[in-house]
């Protein structure tokens, strides 16, 4: 079941196969949760948003056009749910960066590259919400600027300028961090 293409799993799931639905879930759950987390930066909100998205997607498998890829469809639903979750909770920023356990970090990520990536994540988290949202959607969720504009309800030009300003701010922030390193 794990090797079946998405389309076959969806067809089988529609016919009532729990195995197929389970395989589809296993294939996409982490992807959906991380997408929700990237938008919300908060575990609790990500849990809620990802669950809601996956429920919506699976509840609507009957209407899904199997000639189209499943992943992008789920991603779009997830991002919508995550943005809704943020709006409902009225907190566009979260600071639960979800650090792994201490020992795990030391063993796994204690490389120069690992530290560099952490610094990038920290710097992204520290950006103002409006700019952060654009970078997260662009680089962590691979959305084109036009789609981001649609999602955030903004003109594409605004999104493009926020994108370039956010990148510039991030660049400055990271270079300051380098210079101010103890």
């Amino acid at each position: 079941m794990q090797r079946h293409p998405d389309r076959e799993l969806i067809v089988l799931a529609r016919k009532g196969s729990r195995d197929a639905a389970g395989a589809l879930f296993d294939r996409y759950w982490l992807f959906a949760w991380r997408a929700a987390y990237a938008v919300t930066m908060n575990r609790t909100l990500a849990d809620d948003a990802a669950q809601e998205a996956i429920q919506r997607a699976f509840g609507n498998l009957g209407r899904f056009d199997t000639t189209r890829p499943f992943g992008p469809w789920l991603k779009r639903i997830t991002i919508n749910c995550a943005v809704d979750e943020l709006r409902r909770n009225g907190r566009p920023t979260g600071f639960d960066v979800g650090l792994p356990p201490l020992e795990e970090w030391a063993a796994r990520d204690a490389s120069e590259e690992g530290l560099e990536l952490w610094a990038v994540v920290d710097a992204v988290v520290a950006l103002p919400p409006a700019k952060r949202a654009v970078l997260v959607l662009r680089y962590w969720l691979d959305l084109p600027l036009e789609e981001i504009a649609g999602l955030l309800g903004l003109p594409v030009g605004t999104v493009a300028s926020r994108h370039s300003r956010a990148l510039a701010e991030l660049r400055v922030s990271l270079s300051e961090e380098q210079h101010n390193a103890i």
Binding site: W33, T44, L102, W105, L115, L117, A181
Partner: protein, 426 residues
Amino acid sequence: MPSELERLLREARETLPEPDPAVTRRARESALDAGRRRPRRLPLTVGVALLGACALGVLLGATTVSSGRAAPAAVGFGFLPEPGWNVLQTGRLPTSARPALAIGANVLLSPEDGADELPYATLLALPPRGVVIVVGSIGPRDKPDAVFPKRRLPLRLRDAAPQIDWGVQVRPARPLGQYQLRATVNGQTVDVQIYFGTEQPRPDVIAAAQRQLDRLVVGVGSPLERVVERAQPLRRPANTAAGTAGSVIDRTFLCTPSYGRATVVSSPRGTPEVLGARFTSSGYGRVSSGSNADPLSDLVAVAQPGFRNSATRFPGSVYASARRCVASRAAVSLTRTGLPGPSVTFRTQDDCTVRAKVLVRVRVILARSATWRRLGGPGGVYNGAVPGPVVEAELAMKDSSTGRPLALVKLTRTGQTQLWTSPQCV
């Protein structure tokens, strides 16, 4: 063509965390159930969903809306205790030089714990239905920001986020539920840490915690009631073993600073670091070679977990540069003899001129056992002891050629620091 920054940004998404297995299990079940539904059952589904939503609303209401008494107008900083709760607090209004702490617990507080530090002994013995709320403040804040957004009392637990502070679980063998809520309340910074005795507290326990949180007093108001230092006396919990420190690290190093200058820094917890409020200190003392441009300038550092500069986050608690320092058997006293007082308790940095090398001794009592091992660092390798938190630490430095003491830093478990330096340092 994508820039280096854009490449890093894309790769950084791989550092995002993963969902909890329990959440995954629940999501899987609900996904499979959702997949089985048929459109013709929609009215029933909607009915069930509405019923569920009502039930959920009742549950959430029961767990997040307090039926307890809100704090009346009161002065000071701390908790007015709910029945059955013990509170212990500094009582005074906080300032950046004199931070304030308030502790509320539905268990008896251990006599090992003081009013101005995280109650580790109580937390280590916290039963499954136990709750400890620790509220810290470093005083007024110019204006709320994203880290400390403006909120009104009573604060709500539903605004708290699960938080393992800098990756440190207080009790790894039997994990606590750890949550954090930050706010600017009445112009004061408030950092609330909520510890439940289990990772999944029951709704009635959450509701009880909310009732005590309702009784938090922050600063201003008509003095109808005054927060006192110890609203209830400490009592030793029956059959509770006293908390003990996990291990002691005591090492001396001979270090070579660059440019004949050794910089000693002490930074109490909560102090804004170089880039302003974006990074606040977790509480540390360190000796560096004095070059801010050199990420390897740190010689020896001791810190509460979360020690970080603007570029790097270290896992905790004591470090020595493997490049610039070697172990030494030389004697370095951990006293302030030869160092004029009084001590400095705010963030400070002094440059000490040295002839060649410095001897640095670090003595740290850690809450958990720790081993000294090699750690990765920015562009190189540090030696360090990983697990924190620090119960108590001292860092002393002297000039190896003259034998004169240069500095002494003391660090407490709450991240407060004291620094004495010689006139050789400015």
